[in-house]
Symmetry: C2
Subunit: 275 residues, 2 copies
């Protein structure tokens, strides 16, 4: 089994390969967080580093496939991966029904979007299980808003100016693919983009108040729910599920980000932390 991934999919594939007695080869960008590389190696996979661009990742994976005879398992555009990631939506809908049986469960699901595999799978599951009534909102960094532009223009768009995005949400830099774009186009109701400052503040809020060590990519969904855009466009939805899509945070880098992030909106000024 071969894939290219900056982390979460790589760790999942490495784990799945080990569990089924296969070997896994992972092509990772050279700037991937060390913690992700350690997790992948800890699960027994072999890592090949490449330049941190979509093209280099795809090329590297092809080369490893040719050299090892392994099958490519794309991190987002593979239909079976999309279906597997869609089980997140299945679980969320089921949990919503258990939590609010009288009200009919969740009204809205918010999910961060990168390559669109998780979002597409969740959207298909949520729409299918709810008869189309559940609203699905994707959340994306402003600095990597290709999915938002793709949906608006009706065709897959690349990164702005063709440049690799610099967002702290490093798991959401991937572009939509041929299989994920139609799902985003047809099953996602809205895409909300959020600033780097809002991503950092939301990530910090989840760490400090929910005690969950999420990575900034997961904070993107929380930032979207807290945004004025969500309030004005979906403020009538009271039962909202948010997918926290990963926790492979590079601690030193992340703590640097969070220590300058806006504090939780409690009226308390954190000036001492910025000294």
């Amino acid at each position: 089994m071969v894939t290219h991934s900056s982390g979460n999919h790589a760790a999942a594939l490495a784990w799945a390969a080990a569990a089924t007695g296969r070997s896994a080869h992972i092509v990772m960008p050279s700037n991937a967080p060390v913690v992700k590389r350690c997790a992948v190696e800890g699960y027994g996979a072999k890592i090949t580093l490449c330049e941190p661009t979509d093209e280099a990742r795809a090329r590297g994976a092809s080369e490893v496939c040719a050299a090892t005879g392994g099958a490519l398992v794309h991190p987002s555009n593979d239909p079976q991966i999309i279906a597997g990631q869609g089980t997140v939506g299945l679980e969320l809908v089921e949990q919503g029904m258990e939590t609010w049986p009288a009200e009919g469960g969740l009204e809205c699901i918010v999910v961060p979007i990168g390559g669109g595999g998780l979002t597409g799978g969740v959207a298909v599951a949520a729409k299918g299980l709810s008869g189309g009534s559940l609203t699905v909102v994707a959340a994306e960094p402003e600095l990597a808003d290709d999915a938002c532009r793709s949906k608006a223009l009706g065709a897959i768009q690349g990164h702005r100016d063709g440049k690799n995005p610099t967002t702290i949400a490093d798991g959401l830099k991937t572009l939509l693919g041929s299989n994920t774009f139609p799902l985003i186009r047809d099953c996602v109701d809205d895409i909300i983009t959020v600033s780097e400052a809002d991503i950092a503040a939301a990530t910090r809020l989840v760490w400090e108040r929910m005690k969950l060590a999420i990575e900034p990519s997961a904070g993107v969904g929380v930032a979207a729910v807290m945004s004025p855009a969500f309030r004005s466009r979906h403020g009538d939805k009271k039962r909202v599920g948010v997918v926290l899509c990963g926790g492979n945070a590079d601690l030193p880098k992340l703590l640097g980000i969070l220590s300058t992030a806006a504090p939780a909106p409690s009226g308390c000024v954190l000036e001492e932390e910025q000294a």
Copy 2:
């Protein structure tokens, strides 16, 4: 309601006061993490700062009680607080029974110890519910091992050389009290002390692999379970519950601690993070 606390009890009391329409006054050491102060203020409590010693905290609380007419709710030595914290043990025992019904639930509970309120309450609950068969192990920083020495000597001991401990587990610096010591003496089977390096490594492991943003005080219990002492003295116990006793981590401070902590034991060297 008045108390002195470096954080977790303060936040709980502030929340409880707000929920019941009372006002809360919290005496906090001047070096308490800003994140804890913010949480407490966010819940509507009024903070009075004091010197970071047990004596100054107790004196400050007495003064605030006199000035406000409020009742002191001690963070660890109050019987009702001990009983309330003991519900953690109740929940753990119940979850153990649900998880391993055929095997009879948990065999051992490990809980970090500071003032002994949480540990005493959990120990009483665990012993009472299991007919005495469940083993209760307290976990303590080597640098603040007053409970370990108190239990060994049969009387409450102060800090070594009378000095305020410098452990990173800042929630475990409190000494045992008149109500908690008898519970630790009679209902806790063993106390294991752990080094600062082991606390940091365990905290990092929980953050990176369990994705839980615990504070170092909570890492003390995990460090104890992973210690050679636990293996040699309690290695026959397979169903072990560990209390993660708090997540009020001061993020910038944790940066320094965790970035130099030993990585998860996966064989992968994290030298890049230390650069």
